[in-house]
Every structure is written in structure tokens, then in C-alpha cells.
């Protein structure tokens, strides 16, 4: 695929979408596998599904010309093949290698997505070497396969894959009996029927293979032979599936190689328990002494149902962005039409002005609906992040030898897809920190009288125009005295005595601060909490900490629901126009010079019971003040989370819907600006980043 036509880039998109799906699924399945290894309750379906994932990715990457991904998934596939065929045991080193390979695979896929030709070749070679070190030497099959004694019909035997053969052998070696359950279903409903019967059967044992076959009424029906391994007796099975037109036939170890043929009658007989009851059938009652009562069975909860009819459509987020931009432009176009209507009215075209006014009102209503509709499409439940989180928690807690339980609340709280993506990394970092520094080792927890298992609780809920995500652990809490000492040592503050505990916690978010001197693999990836705060601020969010010594720490992330179109307050200051997102505006006040007091060289006003710090935009941005402030002026009170700030402005110009456009990487370092917006009259203005400004003001206030 070397030509670079549009169809190729579409093909690469197709590839990426699927490759990401596969790697995501692999990740959660590997975490399940690691859990299964711990509990010793390994479900063969799970291993097979992981194998299938690696296998699909290999084929896909090969076809689309991504050699590194193909090579790595090929090696993973080999390893998983040995595992599923029972040639390797599931142990910690193997799981560690699988996790490592998965991580590399994910970053390889990501670098394709980012168009980077990043050289992972050293990592790749190292990972493949590790995989090969674990691979069992290829063993030739010796002797007669015990399967030949089962008396499986040639038709069924030939259609078994190598893996299914292995599952059959494995079931036999566990002393299970093998049954063939023959069913016949209507062509129109066979998949649901089959899924239902498979689910029923799985409560008793393992469905090894499902082979479609041809019955007497092939125009309307499809027959199936289900190869099933269980410790149950055929009576039990017949009772289990008694409502279905099935025949249950037990295969014997010592049967001559003539299995009872599947019945080929127009109406499959009910409970023809042992057709052609071969003498061998009775002779083989011995190999599987049926255990009394229900037996814990592997594979009972694997509800591998047939794919349901999906009523969802996958859409590239880029397309939604485009749509959103168009909606935004329509909103602006509407604003200018509405402006014309107002001008017409003042200039005396009253009748036409009224009509135009009505039309714009109607347009506005439809536009609001459209905007809401497009907005809703962009919204995804926060819960989509949680799966990733639980993977990370399982992985890190295993590495750290800590026991951690992850609890979720409010997974269905919805947020803009882009915000969800952008907070994934910061949340991951906070969770890493919680396991690394927060949750104590199991022995220490027991000694403290806590449950051996730590808990990390992630809750999300909507609060007005914001969504709050809290990450809370029940670990040791943050040692504030240590934080203070460190802050003083690092020179962040001169007089630590005057710093409150709450203020001290803010030091954690400063660049270069880390309470842990030792850089470790988990939290010390050269990324500090300052990056966490910056990443959250980049989506106009805020992060706060609450901590109680010995009880735990809570990170509170407050995010706007969407970034795309927002209502904004348009203000003027020193002859410049800015937009302040209305979601952050609490109120606006009209004040005079004498309302301002100066405390510690900072301007403040008394707002009801509290003292509100003021901030002038000219001073903040280092712009020369145009004209003295005289007489009356406005203060816009903004707040994010619990913090409040008064922004001093010359004039309030009104409210308007704006579409925030990013200013790109170059402008990222400018604090206090989250983007630019077009006002619809050819004017472009800056949008204030209230979260960033509040933080900055609080910091310089100390």
C-alpha cells in the first residue's frame, strides 16, 4: 500500500479504528487473565479470545503494511497459542510479558495514529526476545490421540480446529464426558436460539465446538451439533434443554469409531436419548464419575452470545468537529441577521424589521435544537474511561504488591468526547499516585486496623454546567508537614508559618515539586502534578485536593460539560474585548473606586461576608492601562470549584454564543487564555481561561 491516495488514508483510518478496538479489548482481557491467574479459575474462552485478538491484529497489520505491529502481534499470538493449547502454564512471568507486549502494541498503534514513524525497534526486539524466551520448544505429537477413541464422526472431527481438538482433549483429561447435542432451528432465529442454548449449557460445562449441519428440512432449518464437555449425566443435560428439540448423545472413550449419526429426520425427535444405542454407550459410564451437586465449572459465565443487532453508528470525531464548526458559524450568521433586524428597527423599517425579527427568532429556536442535537452526539459517558482505569489499577497494584479495589459511581455521567479523552492521562496519573503514595502495603494496612484491601473510588456527577470527577483513596493521606518542609526547601515560599494547610496542598501542583525523592517507575515518569493541573486546565477544568492524615486523599476535578459552543459574557477592558465563559461567571457588580480596599498590596472588595480578591486584566496580561479608572466600573465575579475571583472590567457588552477555537501549541504557554472566538462581525476576540486565571491569582496572592 504505497500510493498515497485518499482511499489509502481511509484504509489506514479503518485499520486504526479496528486496531484500537482490538488493543483496548486485549488490555481488559489481559487484566482479566491476570485476575484469573491469581484466583486459579481460568476460563479457556478468555485465553482463546485474547489469542483471537492478537491473531486478527497480525493479519490486519500485515495487510495494511504495518510490519512492526504485525511482527509483535505475531509473536504474541505464538505465545498465546502455546498457552491456549496447554503447552505453557499461566504464570506471573508470562503475564508480565503479555502486559509488556500489549503496552508496546498500544504505543505502536498510537504512533501510526499520530503519523509518527517513531523507532520502537529496540523495544520491539527486546520484547520479542522476552516472548521467545518463554516459548515452549515445538513438540511433535506422539502416539495416538485419545480423540480417536471417542468415536467422533469424520464430519465433525474434520471440522475441528487445532484449538478445539485441544479443548476436547483437555476436557477428557479432566475426566469429563463428551456429548454431542443435536438441535434444529428455524433459519430466521437460529443465532438467538443457539446463543440461548449455549448459555444454558455453559452453566454445566464447556461448549467446545458448534458445527452447523444439514438436517431433513434444510430449506427452512439449520441443524447444529454442539460438542460439549461436562461432568454431568445425560439426564441432567436433557432436563436442562428439555424445551428444545434436541438429542443428547454421549460419546465414549472406548467406542468403536462409529458414532451414532446425527438424526436426519424432518422433525428432529425429542429426547431420543441414545439413538442406535450402541453397546459401547453403556460400557463407558465409568470414565467420568459424576460428582454430586453442582460442580464449579470453568467457562460458565462466558456469555459468548451472538452479536446483537447494533443500533449505533461509529463516527469520526473529526466529522463531529466539522459539524460543530458549521453549527457555530450558523449561530454567528444568525447573530448578524439579528443585528441587521435590530438596526432596521432603529432606522425606521419597522414592519419589515418585525417580520425579520420573527424569522430570526424561529431560526434561533431551530438552531438551538440543532446545536443541542450535535452536542448530544459528542457526549459520551465518563464510564468509557473506567475500563482503562481499572486495567491500570490492576496492573500497578500487582506490580506494587498492594491490594486495591476500584469502585465507580456515576459512570453514566456524560461529557464531551474530547474532554473525556484529554482527562484520561491526568486521571491516570492521579490514580497512579494514589496507589503509589496513598494506599499502604497490605501488612501496614492490617497493622493500622484497616481492611487489607485499599479502595479507590471514582465518582462523577453533574453540577450545573460542570461535571465533577472525584478520585478518592483510603490510604495514608498527604503528609502536609512534609509538603511544607519540601516547599520551603525548594524555595517556593519564604515564610512557611503563614501558609495554611489548604494553601500548602497547592504546592504539589507546582512544577518541580515531588514529595518523593526517589524516582520510581509508577509515578516518577518525569511528569509531575503540575502537568496534571495544566492538562486539566487546558480543557478549562480545575483540580482540588482534600486530604485527611491516615484516612485518605480526594482529588476533585471540575470540568465544563463541553468546550465546543459556550455562552460567554463579552467584556471590554482597556479598549480590548474578551469573552468570559458564562459557566464560570457567578455575578457581576457595578462598583466605584471607593469600594476597593488594599490588603497586603492586593486590591480586594468586601462581597457580603467574604473578601474577594480583584484582578485587572491589563495588569494580568501586562498591557499598558488605557485611561485611568474613574467613576463606575464593573467587577465580574468568577468562580471555579470553591475559588472566587473578581475580574475588573470597563464595560459589559452582552452575552453571546461563541465557538472557541484553539490557538495551537504556540500560545499554550500564555496563561489565562483558553482560545479565540469569532464574534460574527469580523471581530476575533480572546476567550479567558478562568480556571487558569484563578489559579494564577491565588498563587501570586501567597
Amino acid at each position: 500500500m504505497s500510493d498515497s491516495s485518499a482511499s489509502v488514508s481511509k484504509a489506514v483510518k479503518d485499520f486504526l479504528m479496528e486496531a484500537e478496538e482490538i488493543t483496548d479489548l486485549l488490555g481488559s482481557e489481559l487484566a482479566d487473565l491476570a485476575d484469573a491467574a491469581e484466583s486459579g479459575d481460568l476460563n479457556p474462552d478468555l485465553v482463546n479470545s485474547i489469542f483471537r485478538g492478537a491473531h486478527s491484529l497480525k493479519g490486519l497489520a500485515g495487510m495494511f503494511g504495518f510490519a512492526a505491529i504485525a511482527e509483535l502481534s505475531h509473536n504474541m499470538e505464538n505465545l498465546l497459542d502455546c498457552l491456549r493449547l496447554g503447552k505453557l502454564n499461566l504464570d506471573q512471568p508470562l503475564i508480565a510479558v503479555l502486559f509488556q507486549a500489549h503496552e508496546l502494541l498500544t504505543s505502536l498503534v498510537r504512533s501510526v495514529a499520530e503519523g509518527a514513524t517513531a523507532a520502537h525497534s529496540a523495544d520491539l526486539a527486546a520484547c520479542i526476545t522476552k516472548i521467545n524466551a518463554l516459548l515452549a520448544p515445538p513438540e511433535e505429537q506422539v502416539g495416538v490421540s485419545p480423540l480417536s477413541q471417542l468415536g467422533l464422526s469424520e464430519r465433525i472431527q474434520d471440522a475441528l480446529t487445532e484449538y478445539e481438538e485441544h479443548r476436547l482433549q483437555d476436557n477428557l483429561s479432566r475426566g469429563r464426558s463428551i456429548y454431542i447435542i443435536h438441535t434444529s432451528f428455524d433459519l430466521s432465529t437460529f443465532d438467538q436460539e443457539l446463543a440461548r442454548i449455549s448459555d444454558q449449557l455453559k452453566t454445566y460445562g464447556e461448549v467446545i465446538s458448534v458445527l452447523p449441519s444439514v438436517g431433513g428440512n434444510m430449506e427452512t432449518h439449520i441443524d447444529f451439533d454442539i460438542l460439549f464437555g461436562t461432568t454431568r449425566q445425560s439426564d441432567d443435560l436433557e432436563r436442562l434443554v428439555e424445551n428444545d428439540a434436541v438429542t443428547v448423545t454421549r460419546l465414549g472413550k472406548a467406542t468403536p469409531p462409529t458414532a451414532p449419526p446425527p438424526p436426519v429426520s424432518p422433525q428432529p425427535p425429542r429426547h431420543a436419548a441414545t439413538p442406535a444405542a450402541s453397546p459401547a454407550h453403556d460400557a463407558v459410564a465409568a470414565p467420568a464419575p459424576a460428582l454430586p451437586g453442582p460442580v464449579p465449572v470453568v467457562g460458565d459465565d462466558a456469555a459468548q452470545t451472538a452479536k446483537s443487532m447494533s443500533r449505533t453508528v461509529r463516527v469520526d470525531i473529526g466529522k463531529l468537529d466539522e459539524l460543530m464548526n458549521i453549527v457555530g458559524e450558523l449561530v454567528l450568521a444568525h447573530s448578524s441577521i439579528s443585528g441587521v433586524a435590530t438596526r432596521m428597527r432603529t432606522e425606521g423599517f419597522s414592519r419589515m424589521a418585525v417580520e425579520l425579527g420573527k424569522a430570526t427568532k424561529a431560526l434561533e429556536r431551530k438552531l438551538t435544537d440543532l446545536q443541542k442535537g450535535v452536542m448530544e452526539i459528542r457526549m459520551i459517558p465518563v464510564g468509557q474511561l473506567y475500563e482503562k482505569m481499572s486495567r491500570i489499577v490492576r496492573k500497578i497494584s500487582r506490580e506494587q504488591g498492594k491490594k486495591v479495589e476500584l469502585k465507580f459511581h456515576g459512570a453514566d455521567t456524560e461529557l464531551d468526547k474530547l474532554i473525556v479523552e484529554d482527562i484520561s492521562d491526568p486521571m491516570m496519573h492521579i490514580i497512579r499516585n494514589a496507589i503509589d503514595h496513598g494506599i499502604e502495603a497490605p501488612e501496614r494496612r492490617l497493622a493500622l486496623g484497616k481492611d487489607e484491601k485499599g479502595t479507590i473510588r471514582i465518582s462523577s456527577y453533574q453540577k450545573g454546567n460542570h461535571v465533577v470527577i472525584e478520585v478518592e483513596d483510603d490510604g495514608g493521606g498527604i503528609d502536609i508537614e512534609r509538603v511544607k518542609a519540601k516547599a520551603q526547601q525548594k524555595g517556593f515560599v519564604q515564610d512557611i508559618g503563614g501558609v495554611s494547610d489548604k494553601e500548602a496542598l497547592d504546592f504539589i501542583f507546582l512544577p518541580g515539586f515531588s514529595t518523593n525523592d526517589k524516582v520510581n517507575e509508577v509515578s516518577g515518569r518525569g511528569v509531575g502534578m503540575d502537568v496534571v493541573r495544566n492538562n486539566i486546565a487546558a480543557v478549562s477544568g480545575m483540580v482540588d485536593i482534600e486530604t485527611v492524615a491516615g484516612k485518605g486523599t480526594r482529588f476533585i476535578i471540575t470540568l465544563p460539560i463541553t468546550l465546543a459552543i459556550i455562552k460567554a459574557l463579552i467584556i471590554a477592558s482597556s479598549g480590548r474585548t474578551y469573552a468570559i465563559p458564562i459557566s464560570s461567571v457567578l455575578e457581576s457588580l457595578l462598583l466605584t473606586e471607593k469600594d476597593i480596599r488594599t490588603v497586603e498590596r492586593k486590591e480586594v472588595i468586601q462581597l457580603r461576608e467574604t473578601t474577594l480578591p480583584l484582578l485587572g486584566l491589563d495588569a494580568f496580561f501586562g498591557i499598558e492601562r488605557r485611561g485611568e479608572r474613574h467613576g463606575e466600573f464593573y467587577v465580574v465575579v468568577v468562580g471555579v470549584a470553591e475559588k472566587r475571583l473578581g475580574i475588573v472590567v470597563d464595560d459589559l457588552l452582552g452575552q453571546q454564543d461563541i465557538v472557541i477555537k484553539s490557538l495551537g501549541e504556540v500560545f499554550r504557554r500564555f496563561r489565562g487564555i483558553s482560545g479565540a472566538a469569532d464574534l460574527g462581525d469580523q471581530r476575533t476576540i480572546l476567550v479567558l481561561d478562568v480556571g487558569g486565571m484563578v489559579n494564577e491569582a491565588m498563587r501570586s496572592g501567597n
Binding site: G62, M63, V210
Partner: protein, 125 residues
Amino acid sequence: MGTKTILIADDSRAMRAMLTSTLEALDDCRIVEASSGFEAMRLLPREKVDLVLTDINMPDINGLELISYMRNNPNYQDIPIIIISTEGSQKDIERGKLLGANDYVVKPFDPATLQELLQKYLNRA
């Protein structure tokens, strides 16, 4: 000869898209896509299929089971079946051929090779 219908059974969306765009280059071809063995089985009686291109590793019914079903069903037993397989799946390819598949291609393959192969079977039909 009229339009020929090709059924593609593969659970990978990207693979189906790629196969479809490869096969659309053939003259007088109509592509029907199935994302699982079950879907293929449901499409067979509905569409007059002239050739089946199937992956082996699929959920629910795998490629081998699909081949076995088709070869045991008088309605479908003469439809040419081509396996799309992956490097290292030699055993499954052998089984597929034993069950009655006519031919196979191994991923990664050159689209032109697949086009030629298909043309051969379509002309024969």
C-alpha cells in the same frame, strides 16, 4: 454471464472494507458482506452467491464450520470457497481444503493475486 455475487465472511471491518474495494475492481461483481459465520449462513439462502471468501478465525461459527456446512448442504456444495488465512495457520488451511475449500490466500497478500484467483473461479462457474 451476468453479475456475480461474492460473499465475504470476515469479522474484521477493515479487512472487509479492503476486500470489498479490491473486488469491486472486478467486472460485474456484487459484494455481500458478513461479519460472522452466522451472518454468512443467513445470507446464503437469501443471496444467490457465486463465490465465498471466508476468514477462518471468526466468532460464533468459524470458517471451517462454515465450509463444512456448505459442503454438506446440497444447495451450496458447488459454490467455490476461498479461504483467507494468515501466516502460520497451515493446519487450519489444510483442514479447510480437506473439508472442501477450493483455494486459499495467506495474509498479507497482493490485491492483484486475489483478483486473479477470483477471476479464475468466477469464469469457471
